[in-house]
């Protein structure tokens, strides 16, 4: 199989598998006081230190969660509630319109149920939020802003946001900025302290760790209201028995991913460039989604729109040839909708229906790229003949 959907999930690294399996047969609740508990606690805390070190954070800033979605929800809802509780005037939420649904839907839920007033930040044709637009939005009334949330890099089209510049604006006005860094982690240099962010989401299974583990990096001055109440683990912010095997494996994956990041980004970027060139040669009218400048997009991401094609048809035809990729858009009951990311970036709705996202990863080879290069021309031709239903 040619697997080019690493942004959905990527194979676990051997180091992570080893770390996880080593812990699966060991008993101990990290909250218990006896020897078994202490042993688990030690494993968790060493993993936390490892993650903190990989992410440029302090260990106390790492709040472990059951994945990226939970971390996003904790950041968005928890910070909103905490900030509003401290000052009822703070009900404005500034968010980019190209967020992953874990952020997007949490923000919309706040609007529907918690009186949040949502302001979607303007983005350019690559889906990028600019610091001056962010500044203008905040400056209209800095006192009523509960939080702002802008992803580090987009999961569909790979566009990298100017996180440092945005964080500077947020710091200037004293508002917390959260970034979903799930896609950025492992591909870009992600340093929490240097970023200036108040909160940042990462996930294990996108970097070669296990499913169901993630973390919210959280500066110590912020105490979000918990989403999950219970035993008071994780600074009283996130209750629930700690997943020692998963956390150990997450740390192992993070160590590996950060240790090899530069060469990985360079090599995968080169392969991605070959893929983009090949697709454009085979389908000259294909429109590259996101920033064409390699410096402005994730090195492992290639995103295209094919005029007159249905993304589902393209996916089906490639799948039939053993090539796994994604249309990149969210699903409602399994039915493809035009991507909110592309629509926000100003793409024509019909063109936005014919998209494919190829995301490369640590197992991707030149042969994988060559397989796409060979298949894509006839596939696009066939999908076009089936048209838009």
């Amino acid at each position: 199989m040619v697997y080019l959907d690493h942004a959905a999930t990527t194979p676990m690294l051997p180091e992570a598998v080893q770390a996880m399996t080593a812990q699966l047969t060991v008993t101990g609740n990290a909250s218990s006081l006896h020897a078994a508990g202490r042993r688990a606690r030690r494993t968790v805390e060493e993993a936390r230190e490892s993650l903190a070190s990989a992410l440029g954070a302090r260990p106390s800033e790492v709040v472990l969660t059951a994945g990226g979605t939970e971390a996003d929800n904790l950041a968005v809802k928890g910070l909103y509630w905490a900030r509003r509780d401290a000052d009822p005037a703070r009900t404005r939420v500034l968010a980019s319109p190209v967020e992953h649904h874990a952020v997007l839907d949490a923000v919309e839920w706040l609007a529907e149920h918690e009186g949040a007033r949502v302001e979607w930040l303007p983005v350019d044709g690559y889906g990028r939020v600019h610091a001056d637009a962010f500044r203008a939005a905040v400056a209209r009334n800095p006192d009523d802003v509960a939080l702002a949330t802008v992803m580090w890099a987009n999961n569909e089209i790979g566009t990298i946001m100017p996180v440092r510049e945005l964080a500077d604006v947020a710091a200037e006005f004293g508002i917390p900025l959260h970034a979903d860094a799930v896609q950025a982690f492992g591909q870009l240099e992600v340093d929490f302290a240097a970023s200036g962010l108040a909160a940042m989401t990462v996930s294990a299974h996108k970097i070669g760790g296990p499913y169901g583990v993630g973390a919210l990096l959280l500066r110590r001055e912020y105490a979000p209201v918990p989403v999950l109440h219970g035993g008071g683990q994780e600074r009283q912010v996130r209750s629930g028995t700690l997943d020692t095997p998963g956390i150990a494996a997450f740390a192992a994956a993070a160590r590996y991913a950060v240790g090899h990041r530069e060469e990985f980004a360079r090599d995968i970027g080169a392969l991605r460039d070959v893929l983009v060139k090949a697709v454009r040669a085979a389908a000259p009218d294909a429109v590259l989604g996101g920033d064409p400048d390699p410096a402005g997009r994730l090195p492992a991401n290639a995103h295209f729109s094919f005029p007159g094609c249905e993304g589902d048809s393209l996916l089906l035809l490639l799948d039939a040839q053993g090539i796994a990729c994604s249309t990149g858009s969210a699903c409602t009951a399994g039915v493809a909708q035009p991507s909110h990311v592309l629509l926000a970036a100003g793409m024509d709705a019909d063109l936005a229906r014919g998209t494919l996202r190829f995301s490369l990863g640590h197992t991707t080879t030149e042969a994988d790229v060559a397989a796409v290069a060979e298949a894509i021309g006839p596939v696009v031709e066939r999908a076009r003949s089936a048209g838009l239903s």
Partner: protein, 373 residues
């Protein structure tokens, strides 16, 4: 029923989430075809879960279809045909009722969606055939020509709702359930044996887009309530109704007429007049029809060139009746050997030659033994 070894085809199996289409897809795959499952999302606002035993097009049905495809080991996709379905089936359903006719949306769906929109897309994507869980038989001749026949088991035969298919559509149709003498219980057993948990799922009945089965309420919500008269054959007012569209020729229940007929016999809907919003009722014998005219004929093979004798089926699950039929100026003229009752304009008449489907047309007008006032 080909005599040669079957060719390996690329087959698109329409999977509703029910047991029949799941077993059909499994049989097609087992026969060596390269099968891909597809669930048609036909509702623009799918409900999360079934209400009661009825309905389809819910997220749960889509999930059930996906699970069945996983077990069979075939790729599975959901295709959104909701817009086409609304335009071609649901809007037509309203328009027909509004015009005083009684449509059959299942035929319409087979003609316009499953064997048109879906088939066209399938062919364009390189598939050879569309497979469904209908109970009907395709007979292929050595010259490649095909005939549609009733299912081997008459009790489950669904050739009536496929009577709208023309030979081009039939050329790319596959009905793996039609040529076996298996009872529904045996199909369920087969599903269970294959590990398909939809084996125990209740059958879907009625109209898939009316989840609660209340056609009247569904129509009223869209068409509104317009009070009109219920009259007898002489035109005397017997009661009122809330919209003529809510009635079907031959209907007996739900008339809510206070006074009984003078002779004490039950009364039936004889005529629906949308123009003056009047429903005429009368005795059963006034429903006797001797002839009808049907429009939009579709032929499964060559069109008849002169009058011929056929058996006809006038509604789903209806019996057979002997007719003479001829094509005159593009309209089907049908005469019944014996009068038949309860023929509703809007329904399809499907003509058979033995077990072979000859063609179908939509009933437009009927001639009664007794003229209706």
């Amino acid at each position: 029923m080909t005599t040669d070894a079957p060719r390996r085809l690329r087959v698109l199996a329409a999977m509703s989430g029910g047991v029949d289409s799941a077993v059909a897809a499994a049989r097609a795959a087992e026969a060596g075809h390269d099968v891909t499952g597809v669930h048609l999302a036909l509702s623009e606002n799918p409900k999360s879960f079934r209400t009661g035993a009825r309905g389809c097009c819910t997220i749960e049905d889509s999930h059930d279809a996906r699970r069945a495809a996983d077990v069979i080991g075939i790729p599975f996709y959901v295709w959104d045909l909701a817009e086409r379905f609304r335009e071609d089936v649901v809007e037509d359903f309203f328009a027909e009722y509004e015009a005083g006719r009684t449509p059959n949306p299942c035929l319409r769906c087979n003609e316009k969606i499953k064997f048109a929109a879906l088939l066209d897309k399938a062919l364009a994507l390189g598939f050879d055939a569309v497979c469904t869980g209908h109970y009907a038989t395709v007979v292929e001749h050595p010259d490649g020509s095909r005939e549609l026949h009733r299912a081997s088991d008459m009790a489950k035969d669904q050739s009536y709702v496929l009577g709208v298919l023309d030979d081009q559509q039939l050329a790319h149709a596959m009905f793996p359930l039609g040529d076996t003498l298996t009872t529904k219980a045996e199909i369920r057993e087969e599903a269970a044996r294959r590990g398909l948990f939809v084996a125990k799922k209740p059958d879907s009945h009625d109209i898939c887009f009316i989840a609660d089965g209340d056609t009247q309420a569904f129509l009223a919500k869209r068409l509104g309530t317009v009070e009109g008269d219920i009259v007898d054959e002489a035109g005397a007012k017997l009661g009122t109704h809330e919209g003529a569209y809510g009635f079907t020729i031959g209907q007996r229940k739900g008339l809510r007429i206070g006074t009984p007929a003078p002779d004490g016999k039950p009364r039936y809907v004889l005529d629906i007049s949308p123009v003056d919003n009047t429903v005429t009722v009368g005795p059963a014998e006034a429903l006797d029809v001797t002839a009808l005219t049907a429009v939009r004929p579709r032929w499964c093979g060559a069109a008849p060139t002169g009058p011929g004798t056929y058996t006809a089926q006038l509604r789903a699950h209806g019996g057979e009746t002997e007719v003479t039929a001829d094509l005159v100026d593009g309209e089907l003229r049908v005469a019944f050997t014996e009068p038949v009752r309860g023929v509703a304009p809007g329904q399809a008449i499907v003509l058979y030659d033995g077990t072979r489907v000859v063609g179908s047309a939509t009933i437009a007008t009927t001639e009664r033994v007794r003229a209706v006032a």
